[in-house]
């Protein structure tokens, strides 16, 4: 890709270095902005909520606060997988709400320059295509950067707040 195609994702004009928390999902590595991540939890029992949207797994009690957990695989259009020891619940803050996302595993925190981030191929027609901020090649492995604010639509964020 050319430099013109490169996108400065959450990067200022000085090509600032940002930290990204990476996690695995269906053999792919995704990255989320470290500033939005509050904590990472081991898998705990998730209480289902009757009448909740299909992408909602349920709720957990996080130190006295009810946190809604999102089925990330479903949201990303991936097949469901068995829960194992690597499964984690990542607590994030987006759109002024605190939610949890279920992932296969959490890998590490990486540092990326804005110039190292490329545009994702703009061929997506599905809603999930909007989640991707960009891609970056790191150690011959592709890191897909996710925009958590776009994980859900405004209506969905509203709906989620009323659960």
């Amino acid at each position: 890709m050319t430099d013109a195609n490169k996108v400065a994702v959450a990067v200022n004009k000085d090509d600032e270095v940002l930290q990204w928390v990476t996690f695995r999902l269906d053999n792919e590595t995704y990255g989320i902005n470290v500033m939005q991540v509050q904590e990472v939890l081991r898998y705990t029992e998730i209480a289902p909520v009757p009448g909740a949207p299909h992408y909602v797994l349920g709720i957990i009690n996080l130190r006295g606060n009810v946190v809604t957990v999102i089925d990330t695989r479903t949201r990303f259009g991936l097949a469901s997988a068995e829960i194992d020891d690597s499964t984690r619940i990542v607590i994030i803050e987006a759109e002024k709400q605190v939610i949890g996302i279920l992932v296969d595993s959490v890998a590490e925190v990486v540092y990326l320059r804005g110039s190292e981030i490329d545009n994702a191929p703009n061929v997506g027609t599905e809603e999930s295509a909007k989640f991707i901020q960009g891609v970056s090649n790191r150690d011959n492995e592709l890191l897909i950067l996710v925009d958590l604010d776009k994980l859900l639509s405004d209506e969905e964020w509203m709906e989620l707040s009323q659960i």
């Binding site: 890709m1 053999n27 991936l78 191929p121 061929v123 997506g124 027609t125 891609v135 011959n140 897909i144």
Partner: protein, 352 residues
Amino acid sequence: MTTSVDETVFDYFSLLLTEVEDEPNIQVEAITADIAEQVFPELISDGSSSNALKLKGLKSELVNNEPVIEKPETIETPRLQTQLKTQSHNKTQTETQALTKSKIRETDPHLDKLALEQLLAPVFKPEPQIETESIVKLQNQTLAKSKIKTTSVPDKVAVKPKVDVHVENKIDIKQNQEQELELKTQLGEIPPKVTKDLLETLDDEFQVLFFKVAGLTLAVPLVSLGGIVKIERINHIMGRPAWYKGVQTYRDTQLNIVDTGAWVMPEKYDKALAESVNYQYVVLLEDSNWGLTCESLVNAVRITKSEVNWRSKAGKRPWLAGVVKEQMCGILHVQALIELLNSGLGSQDPVG
């Protein structure tokens, strides 16, 4: 003399009626005898033997001299009489002939025989005459027409309209020729509009790479080939079409990998076929970051433009430049294909 005068007269006339063959001579004799009696009354009234002998001599002279002296008229008349008697069915014709002859004689006795034949010819030989007349008429008509034509051309001052009409005809001919050319191009003769850019870049002889995807052979011109990369690790990216296989890192760049089978023939590319396909290589399209997956690389051969049936119109498949005749496989229009992929369009998505 025992018989009376009346009986003698009766016998004479009965003889006349019975002797038909000698009738002319008898008539002549009677006529000549009458004339002789009128001319020489003293000899007849005399009744002597010497006078009788003289009368016989005169009669014989008259009989002998008669045909010689008045042959034309005296012979014609009995001939006409016999014709009237024997040829009753041709009476009118003979009468007309006789009348015309007599009239001709009356008007011009020295009329030429040829002139007469010419006059009578239409009556006896009508068909040839009519033919010649018709031929002559036609010849005259054609001559007249040709004369009219030749005379009308210089009369027409406005030559330009004629020229315009001719030009229009030429235009029509050109249009027909263009239609024919279009038909010919579909048969693989002259490059059409859509593939114009591609064909301008191609030499008359160019190389193509053949590769296989799920039993389908495709060709790509080597000038449009960006490279061949072995498939290693393709990262799936969510929210992309089914034909978008993912991204592969190659020399610090990300290649967008197309599931060629799913893109080219989505209607046939079911789950079973997708599972059976074993992609090995990525055929890179020019200098773009798009690559087509393929199971195997067949070979690269040199072909000429005439060996390809170039498509004349983009239609629903602008990515298909034509068909290679010998291998019977599609040849890709890489530029059009890249444009479609950049737009996120599949092979069967509506264009434009």
